[in-house]
Symmetry: C2
Subunit: 150 residues, 2 copies
């Protein structure tokens, strides 16, 4: 019931890219510095996002990563699915046959509903939504203070 840093870092990475706009490929090193996250760890995460089709990787000099879709087409649900896969709260939601009570089990029903709520909510929030809700005083901050924890 805790969010892994993979999700939080992944979201920050994607949001960082969305904020840069369309200035061409962004080096992972740049984002790592800007966000105060380990470069190599971010590399690993961004590769998950690439496999999920959310970013494109461009090799060679001048290369880097770009969003594969416009920010309003990428949702938090997409990011979560890319870095963690479809996550279910408990096994019986994935495989009903794992529990013979799956039809009548109220506990299962509860977890299923919560699962659904989370999913629906994250699907409704795009990178554009996140980008457009910046902190008003953000521009005045020192770079070090711009770190977001999420």
């Amino acid at each position: 019931m805790k969010l892994s840093t993979t999700i939080r870092y992944g979201t920050r990475l994607m949001l960082d890219m969305a904020k840069q706009g369309d200035k061409g490929p962004v080096r992972i090193r740049t984002i790592a510095k800007r966000q105060g996250i380990s470069e190599k760890y971010l590399e690993k995460i961004v590769r998950l996002l690439r496999k999920g089709g959310l970013v494109d990787g461009l090799r060679g000099p001048g290369g880097g990563y770009v969003l594969a879709l416009p920010p309003d087409k990428i949702t938090m649900a997409d990011i979560l699915e890319a870095v963690q896969g479809k996550v279910e709260l408990c096994p019986c939601l994935d495989e009903p046959e794992a529990c013979i009570k799956h039809l009548s089990c109220k506990t299962r029903k509860v977890w299923g509903e919560i699962n659904q709520i989370i999913w629906t909510k994250l699907q409704g929030i795009s990178l554009a939504d996140l980008r457009d809700s910046v902190c008003p005083s953000e521009e005045e901050m020192e770079p070090a203070d711009k770190l977001m924890q999420f």
Copy 2:
């Protein structure tokens, strides 16, 4: 984003006790056998529930555990809090000062809302609710088939 067995076992344990009604103290060994869960592991979990004030432990021969409250006064939220403490999805929900953007950060708002939804939902479901939604064919089952996974 996955439920630990602590929560699932804890819930099963509490539900098992609720189903027994008021027949006096129940040995942890009995529940462990009935639920197909490691006895020693269940012991550890039930002690968390005791510290949380949800069950009372009675030592000596004929002893065991009893619910500390009537089943309709114990909610799934109570159980979760007893075995895991108040769990927040991300650190900034607990300690806003951990992130300078806490006032404007939309991501934080999202996690906070999801947190709230989960909490409210679990608070609304009592052991009595769970107990009264049994499987119709449960009585006909072999003991081994009564295992619930949750």
